[in-house]
Point group: C2
Chain length 136, copies 2
DNA sequence: GCAAAATAATACATCAAGGTAGTATTTATG
DNA sequence: CATAAATACTACCTTGATGTATTATTTTGC
């Protein structure tokens, strides 16, 4: 019940950026502030650009800004872009032949909980997280 | 929100074995029935023995049987033995400096859901899963 | 007591995620 | 237009999870 590292990085970056969602953030700044290695972060930022969350400005005074309103970026979108959302809905036993409700107690026992989790991810935006976040 | 492969194997093995919890199951049988590679499964079975869930009988007519009642084997025990239970309770953002409630919206948004998940794992036994499981 | 059937142990192979380095490209500004 | 400051790209390294192969050990039953 965790995201992979890259997804976690993505969250941290975007949450930090959402503190001032009009600002340009350089990869150097983000890297130092969040303790994420430069090169890896750069790739991630490029990916997040290609996914449409942020946009890059190359050259001097460049950096990254949101490409759209943080009210329109759902947590599920971020997960989906980085590690894919499939596994959050798929069988916890990786029994790919089966996907039927009511066939296995696992499904019954955790299906509802998983759905709530997924719902939360699909309805929570970066804006929603903004105020209370301690991640600086 | 998934277990790693080894944990999934462990679940499948133990769930299958719990269908008839007095029987000896050979690694060959389990391997073929569940499509798990022999050598890897063997190691897992040895680990599950050492963890006290099952016991091994070496030599001809050997195999593995439960070492204790399946009413006393909680899903959380299995996870804990194989991949550790820590991450099911730790910060989803891997912000290891912090572990305070109310400090970050993430915590508020998903804390309750995670607790329910953990509770379910800690109160559900192999016996509870027995009847309805389709995993043969 | 020997052969067959089982587990145990050990060492090595493979693969994907994550991490690192070096070079190329773009752009603002003096 | 040259330089500095930024991102983009590409190739390689490291590590941990998973997979495979080989050999050793134990036990049963003829
Ligand atoms: S019924 Fe069980 S095996 Fe089938 S998809 Fe649901 S959890 Fe997986
Ligand atoms: S408050 Fe946020 S950062 Fe801190 S432990 Fe909870 S989820 Fe993690």
């Amino acid at each position: 019940m965790n995201f992979n590292k890259t997804t976690t990085y993505a969250f941290k970056v975007l949450i930090l950026m959402s503190h001032n969602d009009q600002l340009d953030y350089t990869s150097t700044y983000l890297s130092e502030k969040l303790n994420i290695q430069m090169q890896y972060l750069r790739r991630l930022l490029t990916d997040l650009s290609k996914a449409g969350f942020i946009q890059s400005k190359r050259g001097k005074n460049g950096g990254f800004v949101f490409a759209k309103s943080i009210k329109n970026i759902f947590l599920s979108d971020i997960i989906d872009a980085v590690e894919g959302l499939e596994k959050f809905n798929s069988c916890m036993l990786e029994n790919h032949d089966c996907n039927k409700e009511g066939k296995c107690s696992f499904h019954d026992a955790f299906g509802e909980i998983k759905n709530k989790m997924t719902d939360a991810l699909k309805t929570t935006t970066l804006f929603d997280l903004k105020e209370k976040s301690i991640i600086t």
